[in-house]
Amino acid sequence: MSKRIFQHPADSETGKRYWRSLGQLRDTPEFRSWMEREFPQGASEFQGGDVSRRNFLQLMGASVALAGLSLSACRRPLKNLVPFTKGVEWSMPGKALFFTSALPARGGGRPLVVTTFDGRPTKIEGNPAHPVSGGSTDVWSQASILDLYDPNRSGSVLKHGKSSSWADFETALQEILADAKSGQGLAFLVDGVSCPSRERLRQLIQSKYPEAKWASFEPNGNDLELKACSIAFGKGTCVVPDLSQADVILTVDRDLLGVEGDLDSVRRFAARRRVNTSSDAVSMNRLYVVENRYTLTGGMSDHRLRLASSRSGAFLRALALEVASLLGDKTLEATAACFKDADFKAPESWVKECAADLVSKKGKSLVLVGQRQPAEVQLLGFAVNASLGAMGQTLHVRPHHVALSLTIKELSEHIAKGKTNTLIILGGNPVFNAPSDLKWKDAQSSVRNVIHLSHEVNETSEIAQWHIPGAHFLEQWGDCLASDGSYMVVQPVILPIFNGVSELQLLANIAGVEPDPLKIVQETFFELRNQAPDSMHNWIETLKRGFFPSTPSLGSVYSFNAEAAAKSISDYKYPRSNQGEFELVFLTDSKVDDGRYANNGWLQELPDPVTKLTWDNALLLSPRAAESFNIETGDVVSLSIAERSFELPALILPGHADDSLSVAVGYGRKKTGPVGRGVGFDVYPIVTSESPRFRTGARIRKAGKRYSLAITQEHGSLEGRGADLTRQSTVAEWAKNSESENPDFFKKMGIDAHSPENFSLYSHPPLDDIHAWGMTVDLNTCTGCSACMVACQAENNIPIVGKEQVVIGREMHWIRTDRYFASDPGGEAEPEMVSQPMMCQHCENAPCETVCPVNATVHSEDGLNVMAYNRCIGTRYCANNCPFKVRRFNFFDYNERSIASLYKWNLISEKGMPESVKLQKNPNVTVRMRGVMEKCTFCVQRIQEAKIAAKVASRDRQMDKAPRVPADSFTSACAQVCPTESITFGDLNNPDSRIHRNRKDQRGYRLLEYLNTQNRVWYLARIRNPNLRMPDAHRAGSASRESHASNPRGGLSNSH
């Protein structure tokens, strides 16, 4: 029993806090006995080779949970350091530990598994056990790890902007609460996340202060959809589509596969797009998209209609009438008729054939309306779905687990009445992003006490009396619901680095309960499960899995209230535009969202999946609109709307509706860290509560100035190379050229159709390892969401370079998402969009290797094109000779120098990386210095780890030869994150592996085969599923035809 005795050092007040991590657990008897056992419970499972790392991590997650359970229940629990030299047995220095957790987010939390090294989280993955994730994640989850270490996070309690302490705040809070009586003057403003523990605390608070006001605000949330749901299906409901059941999907102004969908939708959609044989292809779903500008959803569409957002209602009305007449549905006809006639006629044949297709798959079709559309338009969408038999089949109605709250508008009215004297804002940044007509800044200033909990000092904290540093979700216990309703525990993996306090802690203080988030979450958990608090087993099981599933959907309980819907629709006023005016659509940005991620460098530097714009937002407009105003990309445009005038740069986006303009909100933050400060243009001042998502009556004029936009892909046209680079076919065409008919159909396209057979004059060293690593990328399911780019950045310690460097063309991403627009001659206005992830192709006969003068890039026996950073002298010859231009050169010491001082003379400028950012780095990947070439390694560190694990596991069995890594036992970061499972990485030699099967897919082709580079990356050609009766069916696949228009002025090329 005296094996390990921990000497608890005094809590350091001034020292660095970075190592205050998981090991800082209270030394309770239970925990001590846990650690003092020779082998922790279950450690025997870790022996032998059959246990995957994932099992191991679940085990370890449980062990920490158990230890955490016994934290003493004081207000600020005293926690002590356990030095790593005397660490617990399961913590092996240099070995990763994995913990389940979840990212609370609107529209459903993201189930996660967090990788930690020596107590510091370095990487986030999806929870493979969770049906919503299946191991995949999205851009925001991936990037959230950087937020944790953001050196500009708020680190102390501020009172009127001056440093204060938690104790002072607590005293002040108690005084406020003492005066609160029944809470007349008390108001809360929270975000739109569904968090059961917060809901529970809310109830406690409301029982204590029944008069307190509780409002929620989510600038890019689905409040309009919820409003429609409450009318159509009753209060407290929400809808969840099930795309796996849908054969025909129509989205109207909804970026279903992008910012308005979640992992679940994307995964279910992809499952219906994933085909391996030409006979499978008939089971593919078909996607009709109506939208004002190209989105990822539009890129995946089989038929796309460019239509201004303000005309979605008119379109939907026409569609509803068509569906009603086809089905003879009088109710739907009546509902649609309630919709006031619009001054716009949707293209008749398009609507007719689309409606016919939807009707022909009755019960298996689905119409989804954008969350930006007014509730009335959404109601009409529900009506169509009800008529199509989608309810309960492809569209489920569920209870919404957030109790009804006031809107921010109602709250501001309440404040205006002067009845609020204490406003508690949990997260969010309403001063920046509340609708401008609410004059929130003035409203907030008029409140005597404003307490703002935020992870950064932002515009709202600046004018709040109290600013409380918020804890990152990886720093404190919490919980949330996933989009499928399952309950997830937000498990912390590190103690607050910057002294952050969680929402639950603050609310518990107000509610007068013990502010111990773990205890609060556990109580919620047991309450939800109707269990006694002592049944710890379930809790531990839940932590291991990361969630417990929701009760089965009760869709049938809710029925569509056509009458209420019709009544509501008849009040709707159709938005009208005058001649020469545009509508202006406020986009949810796929990177900074409503501005909350503005200080995240990974996200700022991530190219927008469609525009490829980084470090900015811009006014998107169609090539035709641009031409009529003689505007080119990068011209500053003066935008006037309702007596307000703005200047912002224009970006010509092919496929944009001509009478529509789009601009992303969330940019132009003034009070944030140096990364996000002043990036882009703030358009919130023209967002009003009347028209929160789009408004009509915008006018533009060329301002006569230029603005430098950092666009990572200068050229968007395929230049007639579609048949070489992005091969496509249609279901019908593939059926004619099936595996038996024309096995080389996809292999003999473009230049490969008439290239002689390759042979090499030289003999190459054999690639004779037991493994042969390779990758396949299924273009049929890849949406181009770019999550792989951020995942790669997090995994491989890829630096950001800043806007100036991106403008020059020096972004460092190892994997990029190429996005092309292409069209048949004459069809330039309706181009097709194709996305193609591009990473090192690991050519067996690599052009880069032969030209390196110092042998810094060579080939490994298992088929990797490897870089020896230490050997590289940086001639850049390899990059020049790379046909795919995937090599990335460190033009500056991006890791050691701040973005702002790259050009300052090295010898007199400051060097070094912020301490906290160092903690994020993956210890298994070298941080590269300047002058060194780098590129995708196929995550060689993961390969090595897997090989070592296989070797360890087999040490007693096969001493003579290297053991084979079990099939698909690990994967690269990009493949792991991919929500659509488009990227597959694995061992080509292993017949059990997924890649072995994918590689044999008829659709497989390699880029630029004629160069005889023998790539190890196969692309699987894209199959489109057009409805041949549609007027635009002939356009499908135009991006892959031999010749098509490449009009340099058509907006496809963004010149500097």
Partner: protein, 479 residues
């Protein structure tokens, strides 16, 4: 002088036979200058007081050279990022400048070695200066590959030095061949130049009026006494070095062209490159010789008897010839691109380069190249133009510019728009990059000015050998 011979013994007196007119070669040294005059006039350049124009010129070029050095220091300390290179364009001005300078460095060795072996006696009055120019051009050329690498301090990895890691350079890489080729070329050129200098250094030593000059020239003259044995060894060494240099003239630029030709990039991957590059190098090199020699001959009028119109005429003809070869190569590239029917190559040649539709971003550079290198030298078909020093000088400048743009066109048009349109990217040079290039002109001209002041610009001993006086048999009457 036309001799008319009347064949009086012919049968018919009415028929007159004319022998074809015999063209007498103009003497290589005009005005029948004596040997001592040659020594006197060349040595006086070094021995005389420093001319005012020299001081003014040096006061301009030296600071420019210094500025170039500062740019290089800044670039090495901060990283290649201070230049304009980016992701598709891994090379741009750096390698353009390298190939430009190394090309210029071809004329000297060609004149001294190839023309020596082919007994072209007119070379003697220009070979010294041309060789010096070669060396200085190679010095400037060597700067760029050295500093363009990301980690300058690890450049020694290029040397095949046995090391504990057992890592050798990659002998398959043309860049490594480049290192060997250029360093060999530089070494041999220095030796060749120096060996040729020895008799003249001895002359200067013997004429030296100050003790220091005598010592300095004496040190480098290696105790030359002009004995028969000395001359025998000297001539053997010179011949051997000429033989050694001759293949280098061809190899260096062939190997430089391999940097491009062995790659897979459309526009680089071309088998025509080695001869085309060599022709281009000679072309550019002669233009630079003229650029330097024409002003020098004007500033030192005594040199006009040594560097005569026929020298200029011959060099102009070489420019015409090599310029036409280069032009042929340009057209052949286009033909092969068309004949090959490879769409990627087709794009590079017919859209990125030889077009005016704007689909290639650097089409203008192609047309600058075409005009300067192919069109402008055609004026040398006219003897009148060849003998007009101003025309010759202007065309030489066109050629200098054109040859720089040739390399720019090859490097940047191919890199900026290659296989995948997604990775296409513009390139524009940074100020540092531009000033570094300007700085190398400062280095080049400063070195040349120093050379003019300190060493005999014309190979005294060699020129003497081609004067009639040197020929014991024919004496001074003929040659």
């Amino acid at each position: 002088m036309v001799k008319e011979i009347t064949h009086s013994d012919m049968e018919s007196p009415s028929i007159k036979f004319h022998t074809p007119p015999e063209l007498i070669r103009p003497p290589l040294v005009q005005n029948g200058r004596s040997l001592s005059w040659i020594t006197e006039s060349v040595a006086s350049i070094v021995e005389g007081p420093t001319p005012r124009w020299w001081i003014v010129s040096f006061a301009i070029t030296a600071p420019i050279a210094f500025m170039g050095l500062l740019c290089i220091i800044y670039q090495i300390s901060n990283g290649v990022g201070v230049w304009g290179e980016n992701h598709p364009n891994g090379w741009a001005w750096d390698i353009t400048n390298f190939v430009f300078w190394i090309g210029i460095g071809h004329a000297g060795t060609l004149i001294s070695a190839v023309l020596f072996l082919t007994r072209q006696k007119w070379r003697t009055s220009i070979n010294r200066a041309a060789e010096a120019m070669t060396l200085f051009a190679v010095v400037c050329a060597g700067i760029f590959p050295a500093i363009h690498i990301g980690r300058f301090w690890n450049a020694y990895f290029l040397a095949p030095v046995p090391n504990s890691n057992g890592i050798w350079p990659n002998f398959r890489s043309p860049l490594l061949w480049d290192v060997f080729a250029v360093s060999t070329y530089f070494t041999v050129s220095v030796l060749f130049w120096y060996v040729g200098l020895i008799p003249d250094l001895a002359t200067l030593r013997d004429r030296a009026r100050s003790k220091f000059a005598g010592l300095a020239y004496g040190l480098f003259a290696l105790g030359w006494r002009g004995s028969n044995r000395h001359w025998r060894h000297y001539e053997m060494a010179y011949l051997l070095l000429a033989g050694l240099s001759t293949p280098l003239v061809l190899s260096v630029h062939s190997i430089v062209s391999f940097d491009f030709a062995t790659s897979v990039l459309p526009g680089w991957h071309t088998t025509i490159f080695p001869p085309y590059f060599v022709a281009g190098a000679i072309f550019g090199g002669f233009a630079m010789v003229l650029t330097i020699m024409l002003p020098a001959a004007r500033l030192y009028p005594q040199l006009n008897d040594l560097i005569t119109r026929q020298h200029v005429d011959k060099m102009a003809k070489i420019i015409l010839l090599t310029g036409s070869i280069v032009g042929y190569a340009y057209l052949m590239e286009l033909f092969v691109a068309w004949y090959g029917a490879n769409k990627f190559e087709g794009f590079t040649f017919f859209r990125a380069r030889a077009a005016v539709d704007g689909s290639g971003w650097y089409q203008w550079s192609y047309w600058i190249m075409m005009f300067c290198n192919v069109v402008s030298p055609q004026i040398f078909w006219f003897q009148k133009m060849r003998s007009n020093y101003i025309v010759v000088f202007v065309v030489s400048q066109f050629v200098n510019i054109g040859m720089w743009f040739e390399r720019f066109t090859i490097i940047v048009t191919s890199l900026a728009q290659d296989f995948l349109p997604s990775s296409w990217g513009h390139y524009s040079p940074s100020l540092t990059e531009k000033l570094t290039f300007v700085g190398t002109f400062g280095i080049f001209l400063s070195l040349f000015l120093l050379f003019m002041r300190l060493l005999p610009m014309v190979a005294i001993s060699e020129v003497k050998l081609v004067t009639p006086d040197a020929d014991a048999h024919t004496g001074s009457s003929s040659h």
